[in-house]
C-alpha cells in the first residue's frame, strides 16, 4: 500500500506540474469575441476597453465577460464565466455560458438556450432569485444560484459603471464570497447530512462493542441511498478531490462539509463511508443479498484484480490533473445514477454494475471504484478486523485493511484493547 501511496503522490505532483507548464507555454487565449456575432449579429462591437473591461458598441449596448467583473462568485466547482450583453436601460439582451467546471451530469439543463433564455429581457433591477423570478433546477441548486448571482451582480456593476444607472446596492466582492456559505449554513440539507453522518459514525463505534447494533447498519445504508443519493444528490466523488487539487473552490458549504467529514473519518474509522453511507455501495450490497448463485472466483484472481481500481485511479488522476478538466474523469456510477442524467454509455455501465452484484458481491466497490481506491490508500492500520466469510465485499481473512469497508461484522476486540 505504501507503494500505491507514493505512486499516487508522484502522479499528482507530476501531472499538476506538467499540466501547468504545458498550458503556460502552449495555451492560446480564449477569444470570447468570437461569440459576439452569434449573440448579437446586428450589432457592431469595438475592441475591449475600460475597467472592468467591456466591448462597447455604437448603439448604447455593451458586452462583457462576467468573470472580468465579478470573478469571486463561484458555483459548486469554481466560477461560471458568461458573456452578457446589456443595453443602456439595463435590459439584458443576450447571454451565453463561456466556461464552467460544474459536473455536467447535474447542470446539463442549465447550459441549454431554453434555460438561459429566461434571463433575456430581464432588467438589472430584477431580483434574480431562484424559484422567484428564475427557475431552479433540482440537483443543481448551488450551480444555478451561482449563475443567477453572477448575472445579477456583474450586470448591475456594469450598468452602474458604464451607463450610470442607479441599481440596487451591489454587494462588495468580499461580501459575496462569504455570503453563499452563510446562506447555506442554515440550509436543512447541511443539517440533515451532518445528522446522518454523525449518527452513522456513532452507530459504527457502538457496534464495535455491541454486535446487536449491527442491524442499524442496514438502516444507515438505506438512509445513505435516500438522503445522500436521492435527496441531497451529493455522493462523495473523486471529482471533489480533483476540484480541490485544481484549486476550483466551491461556494457550497455542503461541499466542504462532505469532503472534510469523509476525509476526517478515514483517520478514525477507515473506509467507514463505503461501508455505512455510500449510496451506490448500499444499493450494490442490497442487490448482492438477493438470493442468487455467486460466482466462485479464486482468491489469487480476486486479489490481483482488486488492483485495477488503483490503476484506474492513477490513470484518471493523471488525465484530469494534466488537462485541468475534471469532467474527463467522470465515470463514477453514483454520479450518473443520482444525478439522473448521463449518456447511453454511462447508463449502460451503471446497469452492468448493478446487475454484476447478483454474481459478484459489491463488484464496483471491489474492482473499479476510484473513491474506494483513494480512501483505501489513506486508511490507517486497524486491529481486530479479520474477515470471516460473511464479508459484504468477500474479503479473504488476511487481506490488507485498505479493502475493509468497516461493516464491523468480523470485528473482534483484541485482548490488549481491554
Amino acid at each position: 500500500m505504501r507503494g500505491y501511496r507514493i505512486t499516487f503522490l508522484i502522479i499528482v505532483l507530476l501531472s499538476v506540474a506538467s499540466g501547468y507548464l504545458v498550458k503556460r507555454y502552449t495555451a492560446r487565449e480564449f477569444d470570447e469575441s468570437l461569440y459576439l456575432k452569434e449573440l448579437a449579429p446586428d450589432i457592431l462591437f469595438y475592441e475591449k476597453r475600460g475597467d472592468p473591461p467591456y466591448y462597447p458598441s455604437d448603439r448604447g449596448i455593451i458586452a462583457f465577460n462576467s468573470y472580468d467583473v465579478r470573478p469571486e462568485i463561484r458555483g459548486y466547482a469554481g466560477p461560471i464565466k458568461l458573456l452578457i450583453i446589456i443595453d443602456n436601460s439595463g435590459i439584458i439582451r443576450a447571454l451565453k455560458i463561456l466556461e464552467h467546471r460544474e459536473t455536467r451530469n447535474y447542470v446539463h439543463y442549465m447550459e441549454t438556450q431554453e434555460y438561459l433564455s429566461q434571463f433575456v429581457g430581464k432588467s438589472v433591477m430584477d431580483p434574480f432569485e431562484i424559484d422567484r423570478d428564475i427557475d431552479g433546477i433540482s440537483r443543481a441548486t448551488v450551480s444555478v444560484q451561482a449563475l443567477a448571482r453572477t448575472v445579477r451582480e456583474s450586470s448591475r456593476t456594469m450598468a452602474e459603471k458604464v451607463f450610470g444607472l442607479k441599481v440596487p446596492t451591489v454587494t462588495s466582492p468580499l461580501r459575496t464570497v462569504t455570503s453563499p456559505l452563510e446562506e447555506k449554513a442554515s440550509r436543512p440539507e447541511t443539517i440533515i447530512y451532518l445528522a446522518l453522518f454523525l449518527s452513522a459514525l456513532s452507530l459504527y463505534w457502538i457496534s464495535r462493542r455491541e454486535k446487536g447494533f449491527l442491524r442499524f447498519r442496514d438502516i444507515s445504508l438505506a438512509l445513505g441511498i435516500g438522503v445522500i443519493g436521492l435527496y441531497l444528490s451529493t455522493p462523495f466523488s473523486i471529482l471533489h478531490i480533483y476540484n480541490i487539487l485544481l484549486m476550483r473552490l466551491s461556494s457550497s458549504l455542503m461541499f466542504y462539509i462532505l469532503v472534510s467529514s469523509i476525509l476526517l473519518s478515514l483517520f478514525i474509522a477507515g473506509r467507514f463511508y463505503c461501508g455505512w453511507l455510500c449510496p451506490f455501495g448500499a444499493l450494490s450490497e442490497f442487490i448482492s443479498r438477493i438470493p442468487s448463485r455467486k460466482w466462485s472466483i479464486p482468491e489469487e484472481i480476486d486479489r490481483k484484480w482488486r488492483r485495477l481500481k488503483y490503476l484506474l485511479l492513477f490513470f484518471v488522476t493523471f488525465l484530469v490533473l494534466f488537462t485541468g478538466v475534471p469532467e474527463f474523469g467522470v465515470y463514477e456510477t453514483y454520479i450518473t445514477l443520482f444525478s439522473f442524467n448521463g449518456t447511453i454509455l454511462q447508463w449502460t455501465f451503471v446497469l452492468l454494475m448493478i446487475l454484476a452484484n447478483l454474481r459478484v458481491r459489491r463488484f464496483w466497490c471491489r474492482y473499479l471504484c476510484p473513491v474506494g481506491a483513494l480512501t483505501g490508500m489513506v486508511t490507517l492500520p486497524a486491529s481486530g478486523y479479520r474477515s470471516s466469510g460473511e464479508c459484504p465485499v468477500d474479503n479473504p481473512p488476511d487481506l490488507h485493511i485498505s479493502e475493509c469497508i468497516r461493516c464491523n461484522r468480523c470485528f473482534r476486540r483484541e485482548p490488549c484493547e481491554g
Binding site: L44, S296, E327, L345, R359
Partner: protein
C-alpha cells in the same frame, strides 16, 4: 463457460466501458451541437478575415466592413 471465464468477461467489459466513457468525455465537445456554428465562424476566419491581415478578433472585421 466457467465462473472464472465469466468473471474475466465482466471485468474486460467493465474496463472497455470505462475507457469508452472517458474517451467520450474527452471528445464529446467536438461533437456537440455547437460545432456547426463554431466551424462556420472558424472557416470564415480562415477563408476571408485572415487574408486581410486581421487577427481572429471578429469585431475588427465587422468594424472594417462597416467603414467600407
Amino acid at each position: 463457460m466457467r465462473d472464472r471465464g465469466r468473471f474475466y468477461l465482466l471485468i474486460v467489459l467493465s474496463i472497455f466501458l470505462v475507457l469508452l466513457i472517458i474517451v467520450n468525455n474527452i471528445f464529446q465537445d467536438f461533437f456537440s451541437k455547437e460545432i456547426g456554428a463554431y466551424l462556420e465562424r472558424r472557416f470564415y476566419y480562415e477563408r476571408v478575415i485572415s487574408k486581410k491581415g486581421l487577427s481572429l478578433h471578429r469585431a475588427m472585421y465587422w468594424r472594417e466592413e462597416k467603414r467600407e
